[in-house]
Amino acid sequence: MTTIATTDTVERALQTPEQTQPWAELGLKEDEYARIRQILDRRPTSCELAMYSVMWSEHCSYKSSKIHLKRFSELESVTESGPLLAGIGDNAGVIDIGDGWAVTFKIESHNHPSYVEPYQGAATGVGGIVRDILAMGARPIGVMDSLRFGPLDAPDTARVAPGVVAGVGGYGNCLGLPNIGGEVVFDACYAGNPLVNALCVGVLRHEHLHLAHATGVGNQVILYGARTGGDGIGGASILASETFTDGGPTKRPAVQVGDPFMEKLLIECTLELFQAGVVSALQDFGAAGLSCATSELASAGDGGMHVDLDAVPLRDSSLRPEEILMSESQERMMAIVRPEDVERFMEICAKWDVLATTVGEVTDGDRLVIDWHGERVVDVDPKTVAHDGPTYDRPIARPGWIDTLQADGADHLVRPESGEELAAAVLALAGSPNLCDTSWVTNQYDRFVLGNTVLAQPQDSGMLRIDEQTRTGIALAVDGNSRYTYLDPARGAQIALVEAYRNVCVTGARPQAITDCLNFGSPEDPEIMWQFTEAIDGLIEGCRALGTPVTGGNVSFYNKTGEQAIQPTPVIGMLGLIDDVANRVPGGFTTAGDIIYLLGETSAEFDGSRWAEVAHGHLGGRPPAVDFDHHRRLAAFFDEAARAHLLSSAHDLSDGGLAIALVEECLRRHLGAEIALPGDAFTALFSESTGRVLVSAAPEQAEVIAEAAARHGLPLTVLGHVLELPALTVVDQFTLSLDDLHDAWAAPLPEALGAHV
């Protein structure tokens, strides 16, 4: 395409209808190309072909997922404060949190770029989601990251993981956004396809809510931020729709390069532009660059748009118009500005040393026209680019292997019996890659900046103060569980959902709504589509039962190495509200003498558990049961307990069951515990039954806690008490010193990754 010497204009397209075009190389299918010709009633120009190809890619058009995602709209889109202010279809969902404040949050994937170029792929993933939040009119106030890599001991993990972590940190730290939590998981299924999902949350006053609609004939189209370069050309269509095969040519140039300093200026500049009231509409530049920004802004408005590509400031003057339209250069925004506001707009940009250029204007009619060197290179109905892409109702087939897999439960696995064996199993789990200390990762992220971080990793959820006077705040958790989702996609997605729900509510916040990042294999595989639609079914059922609408999110398909798809990995970001962050309930035992309780019920559920993985490398059977109503009662209990300051600590039980929860609670402040286990010790320690929380409280609160738990219909078991003595004792079974536990727990990540930074 770049070898075309003469400009391919609309006129030329009309004169040379039979000219062959590289639609296949651009990722379009034959029928999609035919449809473009039908829409235009001629062949597309090369610029138009570039625009359609990126905008109709799976990444931008959601063509395989759209008909399924629509079903999220069946959920009632209200939270306790009323209807969502923006939801699915906007750049990000917006929730009213009262007092004139609103919160917007979204999670997005940057998986494929992060495999090719771990640092830049992850960095620009953070940059992209931050701009999504900024584009809503919000000040970004925090980020989270959900990371999945190949096995911890795989050589390529030592290349990918440190780079991704440094990229997330390098970008977010330089942007001045606290990283308040996330996850890091290692599994062989991600060996050739890591998952890098980044979440950003922002806060805004209602009156600053901005939606991306280009309206008002004569209004100016202003491009501001970084210059446009050759980075990330075709990244959206080529990178996001292909998988990596060994020995292929390097695709390094298709990954964008981030400049967090420019993004920091862009944030401050944009917020000042909002304050000054000089922005009519705003769109961030994500995948598909100018193609996306112009066609989305124009199609969402009530007019057309004219753009002069010659006006676009370039970093590389040799770029062809097709490349300018496809470039994914980072740190750019597009604003629609009334003519009388342009001068003030430019002054503010100049103050922040941000380059701003008028590149076009809103026009009468409904066409998006783009000129280059005085010739027309694009003349399209923008809706056909942005919204009328193909939609596929892909074939769905329940895999034949699922019955065999589900029949292969963990019952036949040899279990530890003696106290000594149980102790060894606890140590082995604590020192395993997915349950060990993640501070090697999280200590590379600034969690203090902006001065509102009430809770951050390793707490169950991150918590940010929104208002210093009223002390109102939000809590956020992100969770996924690919093992359970592999065994049963609907149930697995629900387990991720209730885990995020629990993580938010145990800190004292009330869960409100979710954003989701759905990471799956190829949608062209009917079995993958089965996993995908099952997961969506599960989420819809769960969200309805929990009263938490889906506000938006992201789908990432084609996550596979060769023909091997990743385990299906829906990642859920749950947002909660707390009226007074001073009521937050922290994790970690705080006070010797406190009573330790378990809320919730434990059944013998080991299929897909971390114990089965660590002790036997086993994955089979059926995931644990989920009780949504029980979770709503848990949330009500914690809301009440937090307000009344009944609890010293609370920690959700999930991976690794009670055993790991106890280890983490003891190690946080190096306080011991003495525990008497009800029933079978192995089940009590390693089952991963959902809906359970470990809490500690002063003895004088015992009666009130028992009464509240009973009133909320929650099973409550006294397990033991917190000790000054640094050891974890399970009566009649074993005693483990906290030093030994700490050594095992703290070692894995620094040992495996520390030498590779």
Partner: protein, 223 residues
């Protein structure tokens, strides 16, 4: 107590520094890098962040910002100046303080609650402490490894101009140096962030308040 806080392009902790001034009873005065005057202030804080992106070297470009002329001039007249993290780097680049900050020995960014030992209570910004005190202050940086020529380090030791030392060195700094002062004791730079250790809801300690209490005590004496 009017305390100026300079915002450079890429400053990140400027708002936190202003809040810390406010929470400790002072009046924060936002200052813009492009201004050539500090105006009416009793002290100035150069906050943390990545001024101008710090792609060249931490503080290397900010040191030439227009406002730095007045910072250097008035520091010479005895104006209290506190450089935090990137601010410390800027003060070193501006030669208001000796030495330089290079990449952490462990090569990664480090974020943690850090124990510091107060080595000198004889500065404008540390007189509310007692030498030997151990305090906890938030720390977060990728380039905080303090280096200087051996004779410079010797001089700092002899003149007791090392104000804070790390207890458990997080970045490889020479002699565990976390913060230093100039000969007069009015200019202090350190890598940890006292402005992030003033608010009980978001900090592991309130030890950062001591920095501003020190300033207040100094200004009260100076009146």
């Amino acid at each position: 107590m009017r305390v100026g806080v300079v915002t450079f392009p890429g400053s990140l902790d400027d708002g936190d520094a202003q809040r810390a001034v406010r929470l400790t009873g002072g009046e924060p005065v936002p200052l813009w890098h492009a201004s050539d005057s500090l105006g009416e202030v009793d002290a100035v804080v150069l906050p943390g962040g990545f001024s101008y992106g710090d792609y060249l070297r931490g503080g290397a470009i900010a040191r030439f910002a227009p406002i730095m002329g007045d910072v250097i001039r008035r520091a010479g007249d005895g104006l209290p100046v506190l450089g935090i993290c990137n601010g410390f780097q800027i003060l070193c680049e501006a030669h208001l303080l000796p030495g330089a900050l290079i990449r952490n020995e462990g090569r990664t960014f480090v974020c943690k609650d850090q124990i510091l030992r107060v080595e000198s209570a004889d500065t404008v910004w540390s007189n509310a402490f007692t030498a030997g005190d151990e305090i906890v202050v938030a720390l977060k940086h990728g380039e905080g490894n303090y280096v200087a020529e051996p004779d410079e380090i010797e001089r700092l030791e002899e003149e007791q101009r090392i104000v804070f030392r790390y207890v458990g060195n997080p970045n490889g700094s020479t002699h565990d140096i976390a913060g230093v002062t100039n000969e007069r004791g009015n200019v202090v730079g350190l890598m940890p962030h006292p402005e992030h250790s003033v608010d009980p809801l978001v900090s592991a300690s309130l030890d950062g308040r001591g920095f501003f209490a020190s300033l207040e005590a100094f200004l009260a004496r100076a009146l």
